[in-house]
Every structure is written in structure tokens, then in C-alpha cells.
């Protein structure tokens, strides 16, 4: 079944055959990808390195995310690790030989910011450890689902550095100055329930259910108007970048813009007609 051309203007121009073959043909060595209906899954896959975020892994991750972003059928992305570990952070072996000039040139840390530009919501499903860069990766996502036994922390201070991939900014915005200072300056991780209490994760579930819960959430969101979802995401992310007045203006402008969308017509019509909406993403 092909989606190219006129049939489905909302979908990007990648044929089904192309889609499936393209991503699964890809010889990813640090990640594993999977499509499950309307969601795309990315499994960090460096078990011997506890999913340390080497530049190799980060390149592949970005490539997979961009691919899911371009794929019209995928509405929501889930990033996860293994049961034992989400990611233990930066690849220390790699990083120990960085010097400033090289680091600036390679721009490794900037990769985390790319997640902001993705229009589709990204859910981090954490089990086991999410430490350092691992936690920073999760915090760069939009929703975090954590297994009860998960441990989240920023232990960079223990190896003579500090969080450089968003930790000082995103953790502080999530849990507030006082908890962020404690976590970053001591490097001691916290458990999932404590993280929930401090607003660092969206949801905590029994260990066995973390991935199922993340997928369930992803499928739920995938049912909503993709246009509304991406504009909502953009508006929420704006909140951390601007003043309240500016943010409200931004939100309002987006909202008025949505009034002319087909999805809004369809959504409200379906509501009034007491039926399920059929969104087209525009």
C-alpha cells in the first residue's frame, strides 16, 4: 500500500514498502527499533556498556527519531533501554579523552536538544538506572514513565564534572532549585516514587509494567489529533523559554490558528455527535 501522491496528503511521502524496509534494513548496532501500529519504539542497545551514550549510539538514536518523525503513520515515539538499565550515562572511556576544542567541534551534547524539534511526543520508559546523560536523555523527552524500582540521578560530580547535557537546566525546572542542588552536588540518585513526588517523572508503575504502560500511553496519545498534539507540545515547551505574558500570547495564537484546522472541526463535531473522531492531521 502506497501513500505517495494525492491519496493521503497528511502522510509524508514514504511508501509503506520503503518505510518498513528502510528502517529495518538499517544496520543499527547501538539501538534497536520497532514499529507497533501508530507508535515507534527505540531500544537503547549497548548492554555491555549499560547503554552508555556513546557518539555512535547518539547518532543512531537521532537517525531513528528523525525517521519516525518523517513517517506519517507513527504518531508517538517511545525510547527505552532494558529492564536492568535505561542508560548509565555518558561513555566515560570516550569522554575521558575529549579536550575542549574537540568537544566543541563534535557537538555531541547538542544532539539532546534535537528532541525538542520533533513534533511528535516522545515518551521515555525507564527501568533500572537512568543516570547522568541517561537521565538527561529522559528529561529531554516529553513524558517519563518509570518502573517502581528505577533509580534516577546525576552522578557526574563523582567523576570530576557536572551535568552538561541539560541536567542543570531541565532537572532544576522539574524539581526546583533545592532538590536539583542536592541531587547534582551529591550525585546521589533517587527512587522512582521520590522522583514522582518531586515532579521528575509522569507516572510510576510496578517493574513488570513499565514498557506496557509507556506503550499504552503512546497509543492513547496516538489517537488524538496529531496537529493538536504537536502544537500542544510546542506550546508546553515554550513555557520554559519565555515570560508568562509571552507564553500566553504564543498559546493563544496557536489556539486561534487551530480553530481553522480540520481536526478541530472533526474533533468537536464527533463530540457533539457522540462518536469517535477521525483525525487527518491537518
Amino acid at each position: 500500500m502506497s501513500f505517495t501522491g494525492s491519496a493521503h496528503p497528511s502522510a509524508k511521502t514514504i511508501s509503506r514498502a520503503e518505510k518498513d524496509s528502510h528502517l529495518s534494513d538499517k544496520e543499527f548496532s547501538n539501538i534497536r527499533t520497532q514499529v507497533e501500529g501508530d507508535i515507534g519504539l527505540i531500544f537503547l542497545n549497548r548492554p555491555s556498556a549499560l547503554n552508555a551514550l556513546s557518539s555512535g549510539l547518539m547518532s543512531e538514536l537521532v537517525e531513528a527519531i528523525n525517521w519516525f518523525e518523517a513517517n506519517g503513520e507513527i504518531r508517538c515515539i517511545v525510547i527505552t533501554g532494558s529492564e536492568k538499565v535505561f542508560s548509565a550515562g555518558a561513555d566515560i572511556k570516550e569522554m575521558s579523552v575529549w579536550i575542549s576544542a574537540e568537544a566543541l567541534k563534535q557537538a555531541n551534547l547538542e544532539r539532546f536538544d534535537l528532541l525538542k524539534k520533533i513534533s511528535k511526543p516522545i515518551i521515555a520508559a525507564i527501568s533500572g538506572f537512568a543516570l547522568g546523560g541517561g537521565l538527561e536523555l529522559a528529561m529531554a523527552c516529553d513524558i517519563i514513565v518509570a518502573a517502581e524500582g528505577a533509580k534516577l540521578g546525576q552522578p557526574e560530580i563523582n567523576v570530576g564534572v557536572f551535568p552538561g547535557a541539560g541536567g542543570t537546566q531541565r532537572l532544576t525546572r522539574a524539581v526546583g532549585k533545592y532538590k536539583a542542588m542536592e541531587m547534582i552536588l551529591t550525585g546521589v540518585p533517587i527512587g522512582a516514587r521520590e522522583a514522582l513526588a518531586h515532579g521528575l517523572v509522569s507516572r510510576v508503575v510496578p517493574n513488570e509494567l513499565y514498557l506496557a504502560e509507556a506503550k499504552k500511553l503512546a497509543h492513547e496519545i496516538a489517537q488524538k489529533s496529531p496537529l493538536a498534539v504537536s502544537i500542544a507540545k510546542e506550546s508546553i515547551l515554550k513555557a520554559h523559554e519565555t515570560t508568562l505574558t509571552e507564553g500566553l500570547a504564543f498559546e493563544r495564537r496557536n489556539f486561534y490558528m487551530m480553530m481553522s484546522s480540520e481536526d478541530k472541526q472533526e474533533g468537536m463535531k464527533a463530540f457533539l455527535e457522540k462518536r469517535k473522531p477521525n483525525y487527518r492531521g491537518r
Binding site: V205, P206, E208, L209
Partner: protein, 255 residues
């Protein structure tokens, strides 16, 4: 520690000090429990003491010796000693039985109460002891005792440092069975093997019940639902239902 038929028997082995525990002993105990946690072939744990006592608590003479060369920080001692042990017992997704062969005093009493079930020898006693040396109950006793014995009895013992014997423990409903000393191991083994052949759901049951102790009713309902879907996905659940409809005894595998 020995492992037989899916049961891990963990025996405190310092009978000369009534199985009082010093930090090295507790670290070994914690490591043993950690190993048991990860061992899928072990489905039930029994903790007991060798000799005539279950556990006399913290090894005070070891602490006295250490005082000569180091500063004793009782909070740190707990954090590296009894606390991890009590926590592993309480939080492990496997039934833990205390085979109380003799006196369980102080932290020893705490550990006995942190276990899920207690098979108790007629001559055994649970002695609070902390009050007698001006300390407070630890090893989870402040959590487990009010729930097991009720607030009044807990405070009474907490103030007096006194104890209760096997008979009174039975009367208060905090022990599963009181048996003659020569029947203790046989009875415990029977229970342990029964539990070791139980379904995977047993560990989840323990988890859900413990979790509910800290939740309001509606949150407990939600946690039950989450735990139920995990239990429902087990092979043992299917086997259990099949056995029920076929009117036979189920054969559980622990998964």
C-alpha cells in the same frame, strides 16, 4: 545457607554470642539475601539461628571493641547493617519464614517481625530489649510491631524493654504456629516446601499487601489492578485455572 527443594535455609551461625550480629555478619546476611532474590530456583526463604537462640540483636561487645579505635555512629551502623537486611526480607518477592528457635531480642526481634511468617518454638521469646539500654526499636520494629501487636502492646514493650513468650505471641496472633522444639524444623520445612511450590502470584501478593499498608483505599485498588495484570500473565495463573476446571491439583512453576 543451604538450598534444598526450592527453599533457601539461612542460619545465623554465631551461637556463642546467641547469634548477635556484628556489621560483617550483617553484610554477609544481606549479600546472601541478595543472591536469593536473584535465584529463580529459590521460591521460599527460612531464616533461623543455630543453637538455643534465634538472634540476640546487635553484637554489643563487638561495638565496644570498635569504640577503642573508631567513632560509633549508630545511624550509619543501621544503614549498612540491619537496615538492608530488614529491607530485603520485607521487600523480597518471595515468602520469608522466621523459624524462631529461641530468643529473638532487640534487632533480632525486629528481623523476626520483618519476616512474613513465624514458626515458633515453645520456649522462644520475643524481647524488645532496646529500652533497657536506652535505645529505640529498630530493624523495622516501629513499623511491624504496631501492625502486628497493636499500638498499646508495642508502646508497652517499647517502654519496658520486656518481652512476650511464644504463648502470648500466639494469643496476640503474630505467629503462625507454636511447636515443640523437636518438631520445629519438620513443621517449618512442611510450610516452606508448600510455599516453594506455590504460584508466582505469592510474591506479588506479598508485594501488593505490603504496598497497600502505605496507601489509601482507592490507590490500593489501583495497585491491586496493576499487580493483578502481572499475576494474570503468569503461566501459573493459567495452570491454576486449568487445574481448577479439571478438578485436579495445580502444578506451579513459579513463573
Amino acid at each position: 545457607m543451604r538450598k534444598e527443594s526450592g527453599v533457601a535455609w539461612v542460619t545465623l551461625n554465631r551461637p556463642e554470642v546467641l547469634n548477635a550480629c556484628d556489621i560483617p555478619t550483617l553484610k554477609k546476611l544481606s549479600a546472601a539475601l541478595k543472591e536469593i532474590e536473584g535465584d529463580q530456583s529459590i521460591r521460599c526463604v527460612v531464616i533461623t539461628g543455630s543453637g538455643r537462640a534465634f538472634c540476640a540483636g546487635a553484637d554489643l561487645s563487638a561495638i565496644k571493641e570498635r569504640k577503642a579505635t573508631e567513632k560509633i555512629l549508630l545511624d550509619e551502623d543501621l544503614r549498612v547493617g540491619f537496615n538492608p537486611v530488614a529491607s530485603r526480607i520485607f521487600n523480597m518477592d518471595k515468602p520469608v519464614i522466621a523459624m524462631v528457635n529461641g530468643v529473638a531480642a532487640g534487632a533480632g526481634m525486629g528481623l523476626a517481625f520483618a519476616c512474613d511468617l513465624r514458626i515458633v518454638s515453645e520456649g522462644a521469646r520475643f524481647i524488645e530489649a532496646f529500652a533497657k539500654v536506652g535505645l529505640v526499636p529498630d530493624s523495622g520494629a516501629t513499623y511491624t510491631m504496631p501492625r502486628l501487636l497493636g499500638l498499646t502492646k508495642t508502646i508497652e514493650l517499647g517502654f519496658s524493654g520486656e518481652g512476650i513468650d511464644a504463648k502470648e505471641a500466639e494469643r496476640l496472633g503474630v505467629v503462625t504456629k507454636v511447636v515443640a522444639p523437636d518438631k520445629l524444623e519438620v513443621e517449618t520445612r512442611a510450610l516452606a516446601e508448600k510455599l516453594a511450590n506455590g504460584p508466582k502470584g505469592l510474591g506479588l501478593t506479598k508485594r501488593a499487601i505490603h504496598r497497600a499498608l502505605s496507601l489509601d483505599f482507592d490507590s490500593a485498588l489501583e495497585y491491586e489492578a496493576q499487580t493483578q495484570v502481572i499475576a494474570g500473565a503468569s503461566e501459573d495463573h493459567e495452570e491454576g485455572v486449568r487445574a481448577f476446571t479439571e478438578k485436579r491439583t495445580p502444578k506451579f512453576k513459579g513463573r
